[in-house]
């Protein structure tokens, strides 16, 4: 299991745990990322990330990638 922040470009991962507090976790859920989801790391800029799920694209800023734990698929 890795922090999302450490996943390189082009990898597909599954979200195992979101460690971001109640408010942020629910917000992520509303924006489309929940525990159990499979997502694509489209770009990892050493911290900030762009991930994709289906036709959704989300930009995650500094720090967010450290709070999402994933496993490789």
């Amino acid at each position: 299991m890795n922090a999302l922040e450490q996943v390189p470009d082009g990898q597909k991962v599954r979200v195992v745990k979101i460690d971001a507090g109640r408010e942020m976790t629910t917000r992520l859920k509303h924006m489309g990322i929940s525990e159990g989801d499979e997502i694509n790391v489209l770009q990892n800029m050493n911290g900030p990330l762009i991930v994709g799920k289906g036709n959704l694209r989300l930009a995650l800023g500094r720090g967010m990638g450290r709070k999402i734990w994933v496993e490789k698929l």
């Binding site: 597909k12 109640r22 408010e23 942020m24 976790t25 629910t26 917000r27 992520l28 859920k29 509303h30 924006m31 489309g32 929940s34 694509n40 489209l42 770009q43 800029m45 050493n46 911290g47 900030p48 762009i50 994709g52 289906g54 036709n55 959704l56 694209r57 989300l58 930009a59 995650l60 800023g61 500094r62 720090g63 967010m64 709070k67």
Partner: protein
Amino acid sequence: MNYTIALAGHPNSGKTTTFNRLVGGREKEGNWPGTTVERKDGRLSYQGQEISVVDLPGTYSLSDYSIDEQIAVQYLINEKPDVVAAVVDASHLERNLYLVVQLLEMGLNVILVLNMMDLARETGVDVNAVQLAEILKIPVVETVASRGHGISLLKDTILKAQGRKPEKLLIDYGELREGVVALENFLGPKEVIPGLNNRALAVKILEDEEDILQQLEHRQDFSTILQMRRGIEARLGKSAEMYIAERRYAFIKGLVKECAGHFMPIQERLTMSDKIDRVMTHRFGGIPIFLSMMYLLFSLVFKAGEPMVNGLDAGFTRLGRELAQFILAAGWPAWIGSFVSDGVIAGVGGVLSFLPYILLLFFGISILEDSGYLSRAAFIMDRAMHALGLHGKSFIPMLLGFGCNIPGIMATRTLSSHKDRILTILVLPLMSCAARLPVYTLFAGALFPRRQGEVVFSLYVLGIVLAIIMARIFRGFLFKEETAPLVMELPPYRMPNFRNTFFLMWLRAVLFIKKAGTLIFVAVVFIWALASLPVGVEYASEQSIIGQIGKFLAPALKPAGFGFWQAAVALLFGIFAKEAVIGSLATLYGVGEEGLTAVLPQYFTPLSGYAFLVMVLIYIPCLATVVVIKNETNGKWAALAVGYTIALGWLLSVGVYQVGRLIVG
């Protein structure tokens, strides 16, 4: 009978576009009471009926995480609109339906508006609106609001929905089923909070919604309610709130499976949009591209706008002069001529001369936003801005502030966090606007003949440094929480819809004139009066009221090295418009503006001149800016902006002068 419809939906769902299409400009802007959140009310006339339309803040759900959501919930419960049109992005059905589910649980009369159907089709999503309508038992309308498709059908549906008696939606809460029923029975048959059915209330209590719980605090059985909640959650063994959200999503997943499909396989491959993003957000290339875009935007607004503004300015000045001459020739007393040209025309001109900037700004930002680039820009700048205590989206407003603060302040509307928005607005006036430049160049030319460029540059840098410091201070004292880490949706790139853009741009301009115009106009006339009274006095002379005020204030400016009344009066005029500092100095010393270069060194030393410039840099934004700040936030923040800039300006100019005296002697 007043028929009211409220619009709810995600921030990016096209809700605002739908609102604009429905009310076509007949709208009133204000704030939700006690907040700085924008409230839009409009009227729709259709088939002889007058319908009030309320645009609720864009929200992802109806819980109480943000002030936007609290406002939405309170409005829906207290003002019970006759219909709620839930505007949904059809290409992201699963996420967008959460809000709809909550609306239905609350027992509201909901119309589901499936917007962005074009985008859905493009991304291969196929939605069966008929089936959705059957399962949810509500009317469903397909629209493409940006092109106006489906809007008349929506209006028809709104009319027909009048008087409909909706059924509240019952979600299966699985392990919480019994808990919900128990709580609902405890609350009794009568609505505990009028406007909200008890089952929905029970669920909200289990979700630990603070806003709602506060409304129950006064009840005698409040502690029992809390106990029941704790007991139910303990039996569940995990967070009730998260479990409830999961159950709702499970329902939605099932619903979407039944009613929507993909006629293209879900693309896990890179789309065109992704390929563009590889370039646009490239680790090294992203920033230069961004800076070029910013340069383009800046050029658009200011290079294209300036000639128009100057043209308007010149036009108004000429008009003023001709009218004054005409009045003189007609034999009327001189003061009427002055009132008309220095008061009224100057006032109207003062307002309208900002118009080209505003129009071009909204045009430019609309294009950036519509095309999808704006979110990428915020993302790229996020890291840099965060280090300064600001949000990524603050960059563009602050950059624009270097041209003119007003478009900069209006550009902060792209910030979704109100705290970040206010913070940016407070700090924006320190971005030295173009109106101050003539003052800098004149003084620098007169007092620092060989160092003109460096002096002016140092002032800009000082402004930026102060902005960073004040941002940190304000964030520390006023907005204690850290900016939340950025989580932002990147919509697919698309060609901007120009018709929409022009339409929006026009709306904004009209609203600006209506709101800011009156106030600015009044203020200009007021300053004219101060300079022209008592009757018979020479305009802006020592004996006029403004001259007297200047003499009164002069001693306070002594520690900064310019304790003479002319400087004070110039600064007072500068409150109206920064460029006016030069004009007024010229008038007061009885020379033309060119003559000032010779006159200034007689009254200012290089040091006191620099201190004066520091004051001009910092003290109070121009009047029009203050008005806009008040309109975009509220009187309290506008007052703070005025207060802190005056204080900071005074402190720093005094500091510069005194420290300079010590060093230079």
